[in-house]
């Protein structure tokens, strides 16, 4: 069930060191890269069906095609390593075990979009991983892998690690750029038509760490090697993270299309002794929750997850067992969102606080069924009325918990 595309070197001792990384295939795609034109690289990635692994799932190649051609302004690649979505801890595996794969992916991606400067924005809490990545970047500079001439080729790539300051919203790509520009991380209003991102009014592309780390495999082996994994509409692989009361929590690379329950039981080792599966939040905390019955039917690819009324998100599965009170689960998550709302849009800023207060009242024994109507009403008031998808994400998770576990909220009222 496990596959090795991005995670190929994860288990090799000292895989983060350049010498070991090179001995195990890192930078082997670069020679082929420079025999291709940038358009050919982009086309290969488009044909591979590679999708953004940061939660949105947007196709990577078409995103690169949005970069303007023959623009005199410098272009930039921004790598999103903010990884703050609860349940998500996959990109740190790349920082820890294979940082040279990320550097190799950055070289390939910069070449495709004609960028020479790449910024890796990493959440501030990942200090240890930032140090590890910086060591690898220093090694790559010293070896002439990056810098003025990439491995002797007439192409410059400079990579800078930018440490975040502890704001979840900076994982949203436009908020990330605002933060990189030295401002509060407030998401930008999106233009009507599709276009690239803008960094100090220069064209830029933002891609997730895992997405960039997948590119060398596609360049080296061709798109068919990647589409050989997964399903027709969700080709390839993904680093799925599993947390909660299972025997083997962790990060596992899987092709798309596996049954969720098989992954939990066979790779996760099933539930811990004495625990029974109650629910799973499938792809980070903003994806609608699945009941244990729904988990039996769930398949881990984008389309199947939409069909079942949820989303694949980042692939970060949060397992919840039957000892948990779902009102407390909802309260825990709304506290997170209330704390992390950037405050720019009133429906989000006030809505999160409102739901938080109502749930506090419910848990304090002062709730009634009317409170559930208020929560659902506030969810709808927030949905679609804000600059970014933070508020719709709150609506998705909270509404799904209230609707699917309504009986537990009612039990809470009756207990009190």
């Amino acid at each position: 069930m496990l596959v090795k595309v991005v995670s190929k070197n994860f288990d090799i001792p000292n895989s983060h060191k350049l010498e070991v990384a090179k001995a195990n295939g890192r930078y082997s795609s670069i020679e082929k890269l420079f025999t291709m034109t940038p358009d050919e690289v982009t086309k290969e990635v488009t044909l591979s069906g590679l999708r953004g692994k940061g939660g949105g799932g947007a196709p990577c190649g078409p995103k690169w095609e949005l970069m303007p051609k023959n623009d005199p302004r410098p272009a930039y690649l921004i790598v999103n390593g903010d990884e703050s979505e609860p349940g998500t801890f996959k990109d740190r595996q790349i920082f820890q075990y294979d940082p040279h794969l990320l550097i190799e992916g950055i070289i390939c991606s910069c070449y495709a979009i004609n960028a020479h400067d790449a910024y890796i924005y990493i959440r501030g809490e990942y200090k240890w991983f930032i140090d590890r990545l910086n060591e690898a970047i220093d090694e790559a500079y010293e070896a002439g892998i990056i810098g003025e001439k990439v491995m002797g080729h007439d192409f410059r790539v400079d990579i800078t690690v930018h440490r975040g300051g502890g704001a979840y919203i900076c994982g949203e790509k436009s908020a990330l750029i605002e933060s990189l520009e030295g401002k509060r991380g407030h998401p930008r209003l999106k233009p009507h038509g599709k276009e690239c991102e803008w960094f100090f009014d220069n064209p830029a592309t933002v891609n997730n760490v895992e997405t960039i780390a997948t590119v060398p495999f596609i360049v080296e082996n061709g798109y068919q090697a990647y589409t050989a994994y997964g399903t027709e509409k969700s080709p390839g692989t993904m680093l799925f993270a599993m947390s909660g009361p299972v025997k083997n929590p962790g990060v596992y690379e899987l092709a798309f299309g596996n049954k969720m329950i098989d992954v939990i039981n066979q790779i996760g080792g099933g539930m811990k002794e004495g625990k029974k599966l109650k629910a799973v939040i499938p792809g980070g905390s903003s994806c609608p929750i699945l009941t244990a019955q729904e988990v039996e039917k769930a398949v881990l690819d984008y389309e199947s997850m939409w069909d079942i009324g949820s989303t694949l998100g980042t692939g970060g599965m949060m397992i919840i067992d039957d000892s948990m009170n779902m009102v407390e689960v909802a309260k825990n998550l709304i506290e997170f969102y209330h704390h992390e709302s950037c405050g720019q849009c009133t429906p989000c800023r006030e809505g999160c606080g409102w739901i938080d207060k109502v749930l506090a009242r419910v848990l304090a024994g002062e709730g009634s069924e009317k409170d559930l109507d208020i929560i659902l009403d506030v969810c709808e008031t927030m949905n679609g009325k804000t600059v970014c998808v933070f508020a719709p994400a709150v609506k998705d998770i909270i509404k799904s918990i209230v609707q699917k576990f309504r009986h537990e909220f009612i039990k809470e009222f009756k207990n009190n």
Binding site: P86, G165, G166, E181, R184, M318
Partner: protein, 165 residues
Amino acid sequence: MSKFKYTPENEEKFQKQLKRYPNSNSMMLPALWLVQEQEGWVSPEAMIFVADKLNKQPIEVYEFATFYTMFNLKPIGTYHIELCKTLSCMVMGSRDLKKFIKDTIGIGPGETSEDGLFHFSEVECLGACGGAPMFALNGQYHENQSVESLKKVIEECKNASKSSK
């Protein structure tokens, strides 16, 4: 003029990183990180210093620093315990760890112990859900924790403090 100054090493780091960006505005986060690494917190004096360096008003730096939760805007204890409280950590028992900190050190979220040794922050997801419950001690991750292992870490901090006196 601010009385705060970077150490020569940090001034060198600042100048080196400044060259990496197309606009000095991008130095806001790196400049404040250098301050916090040097002093342990970001003082009003340091914010004026950063404002001067980046050609900004001090209020702009203050507005920025208050948005990002990792900047300490007042001095904190020697050992900063950041306990993750978000869902996977809660499911795996972070509330027990919180209670233990309250019972043994006597501090709640946002508080510093009277002797200045410990500062406790209850934080949102630290991206270590597979190792839940977890906490960071001065930025270093401690995963798969229990009350017993937390007790041991606290004792180690106390002993290290005694031996350094």
